[in-house]
Subunit: 282 residues, 2 copies
């Protein structure tokens, strides 16, 4: 595995691979890797000649009062995991190269897609995501790029960007990885106290119950939202940010459930904001 | 020469060229070609195996009260000129493919560079430029892209975008082409009445005189601006939009002249807005 820090070194090594006709799979991450990330790497490993994983806690996707400084980091452990997953290139970009003095260009997906769900409490988040992802796409020129479906809105926004700006690559959305009790894996789970960690299982439980309601014939979005709300509200420390039922592709609100739908939620346990979702075809 | 209209056809033909190891030069234009455009194509022809010219009157770079509908078009004449310049691929994109229903992603260079000069009277212009240019870069993946220095601010903004977003290509800025009397070539010159056309020569004359003042030792930006203003103001029909002396790279205002400077102006003759500039190293 090559461990690369500078943009120029990355582009040099990839140019020779591309000339050799190798297909490239990119897995962009913020590190502190868990089984969710590893599942993306395995999928990339199956589908490409060369696997590039980037590890960069991207400052532009954090708001001023968010957890940028506290975000967990462990480069040594991450490197071991990348080695064990047979990754070809580990890219640890330098913040000063990614955002040099005078940096001023942003890629923005406008419209409802970046105004709903997480965007309500994180208004500049997706602009940071699309900008860093566009930069990584330019630096790596992957054939395929892998993202976890846990960040469902992120996946939708990136797919919109790729389509609108004619990026010549395929976005691959991979299923959510969960702990044995159902909690969606997240680097932020490490923030939870023991009790919060135990309580957080309510997120997946409430989503599963909603899924059962819909399987049983429920077609009202507000009834589904109410049922999830009723399950989560009594939990100590849990403060609901949002519970939404939307069109899975456009993220537009819907009342009568049909087609591909996404039930998404964000809940704070103390200072820790967790998200989860479930995608259902009706 | 291949005449291509669809994005998919363009990408297919270019993929085979790229696999054959050919270098690609891109000349993005809005058509109604003149000798300025042709000079870009000749430079691209010298420096690349394959020359791609795009012809697209890009709606997103026109403001609501600008000349989008009136902008001159002549696809037949343009095609003949492209043939005579030995261009390999003429790309006439379809507006509905470039901006399909639901299009919502923009690339924006923020900050002073897109707030000064032309941006003051055309606030959404550069966002339209950077968005279409990013799309063309993705569709063509050129090694080099050629732009005329007449649109000096456009060149500076595109160079900033390329640097900030890590586009793997080189922006080549080519010298302004002028009519024999000095008027900078522009598709918009066709709008001018005979008298306006004759009067418009004052733009280049005033820039040349400014250059001579500076060669003679003048180092005050406001003195230079005043001298240009004094030359243009008396001209019938001429309404000054701006006359500015700025740092050639950052476009930041300066008072004491030093280094690489750009003297840029925009003047309206009736409804026709003309721009011109001169770059001087002190």
């Amino acid at each position: 595995m090559e461990i690369i820090k500078s943009n120029a070194a990355l582009q040099t090594i990839l140019k020779s691979s591309r000339w050799a006709g190798k297909s490239i799979g990119l897995v962009p991450t913020m590190g502190f890797l868990h089984a969710g990330h590893l599942s993306l790497m395995r999928r990339a490993r199956q589908e490409n000649d060369l696997v590039v994983v980037s590890i960069f806690v991207n400052p532009t996707q954090f708001g001023p009062n968010e957890d940028l400084d506290a975000y967990p980091r462990d480069a040594e452990r991450d490197t071991e995991l990348l080695l064990s997953e047979n990754v070809d290139i580990a890219f640890f970009p330098l913040a000063e190269e990614i955002y040099p003095r005078g940096f001023t260009t942003y890629v923005t997906v406008e419209g409802p897609m970046t105004q709903v769900l997480c965007a309500k409490s994180r208004p500049t988040h997706f602009r940071g995501v699309t900008t860093i992802v566009a930069k990584l796409f330019h630096l790596v020129s992957p054939d395929k790029a892998y993202f976890g479906q846990k960040d469902a809105q992120q996946v939708a926004v990136i797919q919109q960007m790729v389509k609108d700006l004619d990026f010549d690559l395929q976005v691959v959305a991979c299923p959510i990885k969960r702990e044995t009790d159902g909690l969606a894996m997240s680097s932020r789970n490490t923030y939870l106290s023991a009790r919060q960690r135990a309580d957080a299982v309510v997120l997946f439980q409430s989503l599963t119950e909603a899924q059962q309601m819909i399987a049983g014939g429920e077609r009202s979005a507000s009834a589904v939202v109410r049922s999830i709300e009723t399950r989560i509200k009594p939990v100590q420390d849990a403060i609901i940010d949002y519970i939404s039922v939307v069109d899975a592709k456009t993220l537009a609100d819907m009342e009568r459930l049909e087609g591909e739908i996404l039930i998404a939620l964000a809940v704070k346990f103390g200072k820790t904001r967790l998200i989860d979702n479930i995608r259902i075809t009706i």
